[in-house]
Symmetry: D3
Subunit: 164 residues, 6 copies
């Protein structure tokens, strides 16, 4: 069976938690499309192009992972791609509630696409893109939270913002 999975997110920036989900998805689905959301609103540091570039470098060694972006309704995008599942990481209760609502709504809007969840690894359960940005902007260490290449981009961005 050839199952296509879409893994959507803002990835602003990608964290080690995201990479864990990508790695695990790549082992159980034939094709994994990491889909950068273009229409997120607040507290965005990186352009969709920058986020896609980072993800491409980080997933270079996976032959069945590709990076893309989307605008509009996720289910429309997933259907266009012929995806069978939408992949989501679950961290905590508040995640759970929101994801539950979204999964039901997506099922309603496109019954042929199913949402499946993976629990975020315990080591990654407290990591989020927002926490990475918050810690980095106060000068804290983010070495355990993001891969080295993302760390470099985050620090560059902070440098630029300071000068601006």
């Amino acid at each position: 069976m050839r199952t296509i999975a879409v893994y959507p997110g803002s990835f602003d920036p990608p964290t080690v938690g995201h990479l864990d989900i990508i790695d695990r998805s790549s082992r159980v689905y034939s094709r994994v499309i990491v889909a950068v959301a273009r229409n997120i609103r607040k507290n965005v540091w990186f352009t969709p192009a920058e986020r896609m570039a980072m993800l491409r470098k980080l997933t270079r060694t996976y032959t069945n992972v590709e990076i893309d972006s989307f605008r509009g309704l996720l289910v429309d995008y997933a259907r266009d791609k012929g995806a069978h599942v939408v992949m989501r990481g679950l961290r905590a209760i508040s995640d759970f509630e929101y994801e539950f609502q979204m999964a039901h709504m997506n099922k309603k809007l496109a019954s042929e696409v199913d949402t499946v969840f993976m629990m975020t690894g315990e080591r990654y359960s407290y990591i989020s893109s927002n926490i990475v940005k918050e810690i980095a902007s106060f000068g804290g260490k983010i070495d355990d939270l993001v891969p080295p290449l993302v760390k470099k981009e985050v620090l560059k961005k902070i440098e630029k913002r300071r000068k601006a």
Copy 2:
């Protein structure tokens, strides 16, 4: 990619919610092994053989679904079967907490088997085997909760218990 999924449970008896998860799993995994837990303890009405027989009849039309049973640690069973994922249905917060703990523990015990979750369909979110047994034993209607063949077996069991 040939992904093998194990869907474990007590299925005492199987409900329409279980069948929903089996149906959806069968669409995204190459092979789905429904695994009846033999070592459950309390409030069991059906023998493992009876539960397996019901599941076999209910999944007869799926070419990639098979029915089996296991005793002992789920991860050992999953590893023996060469499974890549353990499939679980998520209904609510209390489910979530327990499943979260189990998923981490299973990952620890067998890192090559990953747990993935599907949200139970909204129509099935209040259904469980225990509720089926409770309602049926008070003479309530269970037509929307289990397939006709399971209903018949449940009523037979109640009849038998009454005579005993």
Copy 3:
């Protein structure tokens, strides 16, 4: 509009939290039927008759509150009584999950009976019949948890159990 409410529970024994819900229900519904569940299983200290006797004394001053008991499915009982709503107190998350499941199930079984909820008063949020029994059996003070008449019955019961 004459709205009849059923307030079901085990009331083993009645606590100040139960009385708070009865008092508040009596102000918004024409008739409140406090319904003692006969078919509860574990850790029961008082017979249905004893629980009903305590509740009758405690609600003597309410002209629109009556005490009854039931066996079997709550919705069947509520329908028999011509009730429009089933009243439930909500204390915490775990309550919420269970009550949510029950409310949906009851709605399914008897669509003309609706479940409505009142939040337990903050002062009562940590009180339950089980905690009353646990504290009392270790010799702790339960004066703030139950009315004086219930306290007397609880202590009598402990005395009896000690002798047995």
Copy 4:
């Protein structure tokens, strides 16, 4: 007993979930006042007048439902109206937490007004005004989420915004 219930909300726009709660409230309370909150802040699409007009058309057939609006503290409004209960729909955990806090606070501010809750019907549990607006603005179908008349108003609003 004549019980007056206030059902407050932003209703921006009204959904089938809101109408379910209005319908069920109208069966158990003598008079139901649907109260549009004027002082909501962010992401508002419809003026209070527009929201009230939609609600009036949608509840035309109920003889004991009326539409109003309020500014300021809900409990002050409820007290002014002589209301006995504030009616709220509960969907999920996050709702529960917030509503719990509000119910206690309202009780404190006006002890004669009690908050009662109804669980949102399972079919409506993933629907919210914000999700309606999000889906509609991406061109998704909202036919199952709002009544036809609301759908028309939402599409008109999107048309206008596009031109602006």
Copy 5:
């Protein structure tokens, strides 16, 4: 053992709930540093200096409580102060989730500082600085939510805003 505790927060304004935590912390730790966060963003009414002045007056009688402020990462501040624990109040599930994430992150960033939690007293469980501001701005009574001196400052602030 001389244990130093940091109790961080925005205290905009301090509530009776905050004072309860300060009081209880002062009984179990040798030194309690109440640390006003300078870098909070939205809906701030009081300057850090104003918040510190209120806290100083309110804790005047405690010999082991001092008032300070910080900017940047909490763990860096706690480490600078030689603190052994960060003290947090827990009110509800949503608090819990956020605090859980923060506690793990702080532990990671500074393993020598541990986060400990006290449950907010039941009487204070619905109180927050934001609710105080919301109620006050609608003309509601806040006498039970904040000490008299804070009430005065809140009303002054509202007066000023009205004129502005």
Copy 6:
């Protein structure tokens, strides 16, 4: 300030999660009394004496940790010991709810003893004594869940049970 902490539990058997809390408590309180509950009921494998012996060996190197046991109400025990705080580990939502109820109840019964919480370390969040027993009885590996000395005792106990 000399703060005495009681850390109660069943410790049947002690896990690496328990030892983490003991270690962290010993750093912030002058004296830590690990108190084995004698009155637990179901699924107990070890006698109080056996549990205390294991804990004594495991905490031998801590000069301010002592092992004791109690029967009856925890608050009575804590008061007898002159304790200022009861220490609890928090793992997850369901823990949270139960602990919340207990903390309020204990505060009510003995206002001079306060309950404080530490989040279980992320590595330990899925570990409990019951899970250790369940995995071990199915022949699974428990090396990461308990110290070597506890592992030996658990395996001995299983051997004995098999023969019985």
